[in-house]
């Protein structure tokens, strides 16, 4: 783990507190009435230490990208605060915000959509330098960035369509590096790439981190990649942080039932037959999240506690468990964190799809 110790008690590079983002759901074309809200991020509190990689995992729609965009201040939070490098940037604007923007960069999932097809690679990578009025020989700076990211500097005048998917992602990374940021938010940086290309990009990102002392928020639904790159890992479910721990603790001793099920669901490719925790039901809609613990309709641990697949404990169904320390540096938001001997496989097998559906209906009524 690479936590900064230079300045005494190290201040984290990023700290978000009780962050909330809700997107209004409206109806009507001329007179738009708000009829509800998507709870994209709810009460998110976490920090990222200097030089570390914080992995962020969770299933589609759980709020990972929204978290990324909040941290980069690309969307306004509904509530809560964001501190960057010791400064409250929640409501910063204008010149002060410009300064922060240089320090926080995003690498996006889709290398095709995030590059302007009408600009040459040189223009794309050089754009941040131009916008922020950075002095110097721009061509040399850009070619240097191309070299660092494994692109041929002679391809300076080529256009995005002349590059493969992996190379386009390298272009996106070179652009993100141009302003010498301290935080790079990588939002699914390898998900759109061919399997054989993903490792190239992952290795590039880890090499660059060492060279430039970068801090990463690394978002992926691929739990294998996240285990490989992260120092600590955060797990989200329906907009909420449900568990956060050091990498190995999280993968080897998950305490939240959802984390355990998520890890167990990942195909492992070990070539051996393996039993896994198969959750019933789908991830519920963030527009109408279940009452109490958002995971309770699908949760096998809650059934271990109640002893009945059709029943969940009262607190799981009605009260949101807060994020609590379960071990040093390890927090989980669960009324009944996992303990050795909990047989989630058997408990999940005992749950019929109907039971989960009924629990969901009861919880979102």
């Amino acid at each position: 783990m690479s936590t900064d110790t230079r300045g005494g008690a190290a201040e984290p590079l990023v700290a978000v507190q009780d962050l909330v983002k809700r997107f209004p759901i409206t109806r009507g074309i001329i007179l738009q009435r708000q009829i509800g809200a998507v709870h994209a991020v709810e009460d998110l509190t976490l920090h990222i230490a200097r030089g570390e990689t914080l992995g962020l995992v969770g299933e589609s729609g759980c709020g990972k990208s929204t978290t990324a965009r909040l941290m980069a201040r690309l969307v306004e939070p509904t509530a809560g605060s964001i501190r960057f490098d010791g400064e409250d940037i929640t409501h910063l604007s204008g010149r002060a915000m410009q300064h922060v923007r240089r320090k926080v960069q995003i690498v996006f999932q889709d290398p095709y959509a995030s590059l302007n097809p009408r600009q040459s690679v040189g223009q794309i990578i050089g754009a941040p330098l131009r916008i922020h009025g950075i002095e110097g020989d721009r061509r040399r700076q850009v070619q240097d960035l191309m070299e660092q990211t494994g692109l041929n500097p002679e391809h300076y005048n080529r256009y995005p369509h002349e590059f493969s998917g992996g190379q386009r992602q390298r272009i996106g990374i070179a652009r993100a590096l141009a302003l010498r940021p301290s935080l790079i938010v990588c939002d699914e940086p390898v998900s759109a790439l061919d399997v054989s290309i993903q490792a190239q990009i992952v290795s590039l990102l880890t090499d660059l981190q060492k060279e430039h002392d970068l801090t990463y928020l690394f978002i992926s639904h691929d739990l294998g990649v996240v285990r490989h790159v992260s120092d600590r890992v955060a797990v989200m479910y329906l907009g909420r942080l449900v568990e956060l721990a050091d990498r190995d603790a999280l993968y080897e001793r998950p305490r939240h039932p959802y984390t355990a099920a998520l890890i167990s669901a990942v195909p492992q490719g070990t070539g051996a037959n393996r039993r896994r925790i198969v959750l019933q039901g789908d991830v519920p809609s963030p527009a109408n999240p279940p009452s109490g613990c958002p995971f309770h309709p699908r949760c096998p641990k809650a059934r271990i506690i109640s002893g009945d697949p059709a029943v969940v404990p009262e607190n799981c169904a009605t009260e949101m468990p807060s994020l609590t320390a379960v071990a040093p540096g390890h927090t989980a938001a669960c009324w009944y964190p996992l303990v050795p001997g909990d047989d989630l496989i058997a408990a999940a097998e005992g749950m019929a799809p109907e039971v989960v559906e009924q629990a969901e209906e009861a919880a979102t009524a």
Binding site: A199, Q200, V202, L262, A265, P267, Q268, G269, R274, V356
Partner: protein
Amino acid sequence: MSEVLLEVRDLVVHFPTPDGVVKAVDGVSFTIERGRTLGVVGESGSGKSITFLTVMGLINRKSARVSGEVLFEGRNLLEATTEELRHIRGDRIGMIFQDPMTSMHPMYRVGDQISEAILAHRNVGKREAGARAVEALRQVGIPAPEQRARQYPHEYSGGMRQRAMIAMALVLDPDLLIADEPTTALDVTVQAQILEVIDELKQRLNIGVALISHSLATVADVSQDVMVMYAGRPVERGTRGEVFDAPLHPYTLGLLSSVPRVDVRVERLVPIEGSPPSLINVPPGCAFHPRCPYRFDPCDRDVPDLRDRGGGHDDACHLSAEAKAANRRERLDMQEPVT
């Protein structure tokens, strides 16, 4: 006794285009047995879908040059009439695709769509077909199937739509199920459900399954046999244990040592360099040679044959058995878990 359901021999599918001939499938052979799952892996554009679309007779034969044999119960489907194919599809061979939204009609109730398939192939009344549709939905684990049958596809979640697709593919009791990336569009926890449903049905109904995926790990978890494809050809073929525990081909070895795992953390990933080739200008010799760290004299000249290296474990690579074993030891040493 093993029973071969499907045997594909030397299948070739070439698409002539203004830019040149796209060699989408270029000599693919395999068999699928009853009660077993063949996992087919390969990266985007390696010819997985085209292979199985051709098996199903769903390739426009005017735009493609097709040769080889597709033997289903001894009959070569490449010579079958449209009418015969229509009967075999659905009735004997079921197919599910990556995106269930595109293969279900948005305007009709799910139950009616399944009944429709039954009525087209079976001599039963509407009422009976409806009852069978509900039963099929129940079989794939859809809660309250009587009510769900009356809903439209958009009222289903992604996982439920994929279950309904499986129900539709299996309602006529086919002998073979072809599943083309059935879980790629789904969440991880829902993927696990779908793989479980397919595996459970395979055992209970004793059918053969082809599971196509770009993920080696997905295939490893539920297949008995595995075929790895690269640039329109199989490069390795064997049982799951053979391919995963004793990979022969440098591409397979490359995939195994470049994909990070959830169960252990390895010190270093060893990426495969370069990118997949164009299928119009496939590299001469072994198509993988420009990216292969072990290439030597004949590789850029001679196309390696897919050959049995003992016990039905085949690969297509010029290296000697000793060299492959040494590469494997060296690579897998680097993959020792970090402690």
